[in-house]
Amino acid sequence: MSTPYTKLPGWADYGLIPIINLIVAFIVAGLVVLLVGENPLHAAAVLVDGAFGSGQNIAYTLFYATNFIFTGLAVAVAFHCGLFNIGGEGQAYIGGLGVALVCLALDGFMPWWLIFPLAILGSAALGALWALIPAYLQAKRGSHIVITTIMFNFIAASVMVYLLVDVLKPAGSMAPQTRDFLPSAQLPKMGWLLEMFGLSVRSAPLNISFLLALVMAFLVWVLIWRTKLGYEIRTMGFSPKAARYAGISETRIIIITMMISGALAGMMALNPIMGDQHRVQLDFVTGAGFVGIAVALMGRSHPAGIVPAAILFGVLYQGGAELAFEMPAISRDMIVIIQGLVILFAGALEHMFRPAIQTLFASISPRSVGVTAAKGEGV
């Protein structure tokens, strides 16, 4: 597929083009801001200030980015196998159930550092489980995984509403949420990281899930590019026929990959639940599963791209909250538009500017677009 396009230097392929796509997405988003009668440049300034203006703001930005790293990795792992997992939202939601069960059962008996690993397992297991059924149906019955995972998002929402309203809600409470976890099931904050630089984070919820997210990003890199399983996943993603030829079981790889993807999405629940709210509430995922799609596309499914892309969306999310104070016409739903635009320009239209850039390169330096230039890192 990508063969006609291999003639640009690596830095243009993996740096310049994504950045141009991103800029175009933001220009269009700016037009929407104009449409609601606000000044896009002023909005951008407020946004950046909201994201980085104080230690607390930075901490919030990183807190949101944590969610997006998890969901972005989830989408990316599936992409490598040629699968489009739109079910991150539902998998994260159900993953929250795993966190809740572990924390509610153990928060009186164990310290956080014992509960945390178990909660990781719980969230990953339930997220994986929620991805398992669409994966199985895709592998065995050929059901389109895009539609089944979307359906599983809706089903997850119904399941969680039922559980929170009818099962997990403490007797006598009105709000559809679990009881608060005891302090031993609350994750340590990570304000010290920023305080080292003399910033004050106050009550910002940045917690050690952020470190977990970075560790997972590294592990995903190892998985995809350095393990046998990753090799098999990539083979399947590029060419199912070649995978069959190489003795790689399509069923097995699809199911394992989707379970890893679901597990990563499920782990996202740790951050808001154990790290911030200390209970499970309705809709705690708030679209992070979907943001993961934009993050993965923007990061070109590589952890080194996903982490900065996730931080960018963290900026939009945190900055967007501040923006909503300043400009009531622009609510946080603005991020949904931007996310859509990023998916459009960095995903569906990723090659739009390539011919022009190729022509430009060819006219500036014909040698740079030769075969030797195609030696860039084969990510």
């Binding site: 063969t3 046998k228 399983l229 990539r234 060419s239 030829y245 190489a246 003795g247 195609a374």
Partner: protein, 510 residues
């Protein structure tokens, strides 16, 4: 002399850095059959696609009937009476013949009148040229020969005076091809101009009046067919004498390595593709399977190598069964010494988006020498790839280059190096030289002979009869899923051709 039917002057066309056509001049006389011959990749199809408006030339001029014209789309070509029969048929498979014929030539927004008109027009064409075909048959249920006839009818229905056929016999049996040639001669007698593109010398000699030879994007010569020879044309095509026979010694067959018994394979639609096939292969011999593409050869080797399930029958590798009916794991078969060079290297044998070194372990990625526990041993993999690059002279010699950036011949060498260097007992090879340049063909042929001489059993499937004849020690011919005959390496082309056409053994012997 009348104006040329078609005249091409100074045609140039490049795809990126590849110059597919350079400075082509060509003149085709009306009412003749004009052959254009050249190896795969010589630029024949590109040139004809330019003439048909599928691509546009970077420079040059086209004249039809003496008038300079511009052909920007197939519509322009159709308008001046040029019709084309493509190598891969341009038919909608689940449409009827009639629907395919009118597609794009409907007279008005509603179909009714077009259908009535096309029906009577098809009857007329049937009368005039003997082109019979049921107008209400669905394309996918027709045999290939008839599908091709529909393509010709499409062109004639649009009033084509000049008919271009691109490798029309590739999918036909010899008798079907002969039938096609009779049709073409009849069309010529009716005053149509035929352009026949092929890489088969036999066809050129059999039917054309004039022949032009292309090599590496240039037009090297034009000859009157009656005044040239196969030898001259072959030399013009490749630029030097063709190696018709590979040097090889006497085969020394050893023990039976692979034994196939009563194997039957169906495709996904349930059509029987391999029907009760049995044969043995011994170490130290090359067994060739000849046949027109689509007669079950592909399915046969896929079933043996564990990619496709068989319905019944058995396969023994070194005396032990392969589970061809359940799920034979290609990985396990590799461990047991069965290597497979698949027919389709672009989608099956290689992952084009991978680096070269990643492809050099495809299928052998379970081998402990490439692993550190669950991790890949990157150093071992790359060193191994570098060794193979050197040994097989793969160019460019960079194991980190994307595989898509290698030429066809070098890609094939990557596959061969991977499969041969595992020292397998049995090697199954499908279309080893398809789309491969001449130099690499020679290399690959020598390697296959060397495998044989080391005592390996080699099963060779190829649609190139010359290749089968020059490499094989024994030749099996497949037709319609069955092995219809076995011959020695001394079999003549004529006798194999009859078998490939499904003519009964007895008749073939006569």
């Amino acid at each position: 002399m009348a104006e040329a039917a078609i005249e091409l002057i100074g045609i140039n066309k490049s795809f990126g850095a590849v110059r597919a056509n350079r400075d082509i001049n060509l003149e085709i006389a009306p009412g003749t059959i004009h052959g254009i011959i050249g190896e795969n990749g010589a630029g024949k199809s590109t040139l004809m696609s330019i003439l048909y408006g599928f691509y546009q030339a970077d420079s040059g001029e086209i004249r039809v009937g003496g008038k300079p014209i511009t052909i920007k789309t197939p519509n322009d070509a159709i308008a001046v009476g040029i019709g084309m029969v493509h190598q891969h048929f341009m038919l909608v498979e689940n449409f009827t013949v009639l629907e395919n014929v009118i597609l794009g030539a409907e007279s008005e927004a509603l179909l009714k009148k077009s259908i009535v008109k096309a029906r009577s027009e098809l009857q007329r064409l049937e009368r005039e040229y003997g082109l019979e075909v049921d107008p209400d048959a669905v394309i996918e249920e027709l045999p290939v020969g008839l599908q091709q006839r529909v393509e010709i009818l499409k062109a004639l229905y649009r009033g084509a005076e000049i008919l271009i056929l691109d490798e029309p016999t590739g999918v036909l049996t010899p008798p079907e091809a002969d039938h096609l040639f009779r049709i073409l001669k009849q069309l010529k007698e009716q005053g149509k101009t035929i352009v026949l593109i092929t890489h088969k010398l036999r066809e050129i000699m059999a039917i054309t009046d004039t022949v032009s030879v292309m090599r590496q994007g240039t037009m090297v010569a034009t000859r009157e067919t009656a005044k040239t020879t196969v030898g001259e044309l072959a030399e013009l095509m490749v630029g030097r004498r063709v190696l018709l026979r590979v040097e090889k010694g006497e085969a020394k067959p050893g023990a039976i390595k692979l034994s196939v018994k009563n194997l039957t394979v169906r495709d996904s639609r349930g059509v029987t593709m391999v029907n009760d096939v049995s044969f043995d292969i011994r170490g130290g011999e090359i067994v060739g399977i000849a046949g027109v593409a689509g007669n079950g050869q592909s399915e046969l080797i896929e079933a043996i190598s564990g990619i496709r399930r068989a319905v019944s029958g058995s396969v023994m590798l070194d005396g032990k069964p392969i589970d061809v009916i359940g799920i034979a794991d290609p990985g396990e078969l590799r461990d047991r010494g069965l290597a497979h060079v698949p027919e389709d290297r672009h989608h099956v044998g290689l992952v084009l988006a991978f680096e070269e070194n990643e492809n050099s372990i495809l299928g052998y990625h379970d081998d402990p020498k490439y692993l550190n526990g669950p991790l890949l041993n990157i150093d071992a993999i790359r060193n191994d790839a570098r060794d193979k690059i050197e040994k097989y002279d793969i160019r460019p010699g960079d194991c980190r280059l994307k595989t898509a950036n290698f030429s066809g011949g070098n890609q094939q060498k990557i596959v061969l190096a991977r499969e041969m260097e595992q020292d397998p007992g049995v090697l199954i090879v499908g279309q080893p030289t398809r789309g491969v340049d001449v130099g690499a063909i020679e290399f690959i042929h020598k390697r296959l002979i060397a495998m044989r001489d080391q005592g390996k059993a080699v099963l060779l499937v190829s649609v190139e009869l010359d290749e089968i004849r020059s490499l094989s020690d024994r030749i099996l011919v497949m037709f319609d899923g069955r092995v219809v005959g076995e011959r020695g390496s001394d079999a003549t082309e004529g006798e194999l051709g009859l078998l490939m056409a499904g003519v009964e053994r007895k008749e073939a012997a006569e």
